[in-house]
Structures are given as structure tokens and as C-alpha cells.
């Protein structure tokens, strides 16, 4: 049994209809933040001294991390093409170029912590024998990619935001875990 997850994890980003790309080799470990949306409620005071709960619908979840990207590639070495346009407009022939546009893509983000550190993809199967914890967020939007050279090194702060449900009510946030007694199956493609 694992006491806590620390030091090592995987994070894959998938543009809708594309391959899963592993970004963990670019992300600063202690910058990863998962701001799960609150399921708050208000209180209505009743005349008899009682209280009535008025639920507030689940808020958006935001994932933030800092990363170091050397270019604007779409295979893990950059994020700006994902931010500025949709995958059908990605430039994959050197030299790469992208202009800002009004296009907005949807993304799946998978974050995996596991005892099996031989794995190289957050979307891969975790064989039985290793504990694991995985967060899968679908239909997220890349809402921010701010760059800073303030520390003398070019850093990008990336922010993904997801509504908890689709328009039709399908859940967009999924957590999975295994204590090692069962296999955690690989994720299906994101289309």
C-alpha cells in the first residue's frame, strides 16, 4: 500500500482526434496544481431557526503547471500551437510557424501516479502488482499559456480549464485507482 504519491508522475495531453503526447519531461514537479471545482452551497435562514441548504452547481476544474518548452512543436516540445489553433491547422514541417486565431481545441489530460516507474505514458495500462492513481479530464480548454523570462530561463505557465459536465450532462472528470491487486486498463483513444 502506498502512503502518499511524491516525486514522480506522468502527464499526457491529447488534442481531440490526435495521439497522446507525454509532457511530464517538460513540467516542473512542484508546479502542478489541480484546482478541483467546489460543490459549495449557500445557507438560507429559516424563521424557526433552521437552515436550508441551497446547492451551488459544481464549479470548473483548473489544472495549472509550469513547463520549459524549447519550441512550438506539437509532439511534447511546445504548447503554443495547441493554444493558438486546432490540431487540423498544426504546422509539423520545419521551420514551424503559427499565428493566433479564433480557433479553440478540446483536450484530454491524463495524470498518472504509479509504483511502476517503468511506464512512459500516463494513458498506458498499469499492470497488476503496482498501485496507481489516475486523473482523466476530457473536453478541457487550454485557456492560458503565459511566458516569462523573469528568472533568466524561458518558462511557460499553462492553464487548462474544464466544465464538470458537457452540455448533455456527461461527466468530464474521472478518477481511477488500483491498490495493485487489479490491472488499471489503458485509456481508449480520445476522439
Amino acid at each position: 500500500m502506498v502512503d502518499a504519491w511524491s516525486e514522480w508522475g506522468l502527464l499526457a495531453i491529447t488534442a481531440k482526434g490526435q495521439s497522446d503526447v507525454e509532457y511530464s519531461g517538460r513540467i516542473v514537479t512542484d508546479s502542478l496544481d489541480i484546482d478541483t471545482g467546489d460543490k459549495d452551497f449557500d445557507i438560507i435562514n429559516l424563521l424557526n431557526g433552521g437552515r436550508l441548504e441551497k446547492p451551488t452547481p459544481e464549479a470548473e476544474t483548473v489544472i495549472t503547471f509550469d513547463a520549459y518548452f524549447p519550441d512550438i512543436g506539437t509532439s511534447g516540445s511546445g504548447i503554443l500551437q495547441l493554444f493558438h489553433t486546432t490540431s487540423s491547422n498544426w504546422d509539423t514541417s520545419q521551420p514551424l510557424e503559427i499565428t493566433n486565431s479564433r480557433n479553440r481545441d478540446q483536450f484530454r489530460i491524463a495524470i498518472l501516479w504509479t509504483e511502476d516507474t517503468s511506464l512512459t505514458s500516463a494513458t498506458a495500462q498499469v499492470p497488476a502488482g503496482s498501485a496507481a492513481l489516475r486523473l482523466v479530464i476530457t473536453d478541457a480548454r487550454l485557456i492560458s499559456a503565459k511566458m516569462s523570462f523573469g528568472d533568466g530561463i524561458l518558462k511557460t505557465t499553462v492553464k487548462f480549464k474544464v466544465a464538470p459536465f458537457s452540455r448533455t450532462g456527461t461527466a468530464n472528470i474521472k478518477w481511477q485507482s488500483t491498490d495493485g491487486t487489479a490491472t488499471l486498463e489503458a485509456l481508449s483513444s480520445y476522439s
Binding site: 497522446d20 503526447v21 507525454e22 519531461g25 498506458a124
Partner: protein, 74 residues
């Protein structure tokens, strides 16, 4: 990542980058299979299932069939 089109059914995927890429054989079908490509790896994936080849073996019934002339008079 480089993609070489082999034919209308198959693509060769080459991970020429420094990060792991995960692709899917027969993506979106019941037979979908995940393939993890570490840097330097390559794989041939089916993007759609090729049609099954029809057996050229004739059935016993068709081999034994005899040609018969039929004359119909009205």
C-alpha cells in the same frame, strides 16, 4: 513525430522527438489497441480495417454443377 502513409489502410508512425507518443491501432473501433512509442520507436498502425479477402476456393456445389440446356416452348 513523422507519419508515412503506406496505403489507404496503414500508416507508419515514427517518434523522432524526445517525448513519448501514444497512438492507437484501429482507432475508434472495437479492436482498438494502444501502442506506446518511446523516443526512437516506430510502428505501423491500421487506420481502418482492410476488407477480408474472399476465398478463391470453389464450393463443392459449384464445382459439381453441370451445364444444362433448357428449351422452353410456348
Amino acid at each position: 513525430m513523422k507519419v508515412e502513409v503506406i496505403d489507404e489502410y496503414r500508416q507508419k508512425i515514427i517518434n523522432d522527438g524526445e517525448d513519448t507518443i501514444t497512438v492507437y491501432d484501429l482507432r475508434g473501433t472495437p479492436e482498438e489497441k494502444q501502442i506506446v512509442l518511446n523516443p526512437g520507436d516506430e510502428a505501423v498502425i491500421y487506420i481502418k480495417k482492410p476488407p477480408e479477402k474472399k476465398s478463391k476456393k470453389k464450393t463443392e456445389k459449384s464445382e459439381n454443377r453441370e451445364e444444362v440446356d433448357i428449351n422452353i416452348s410456348v
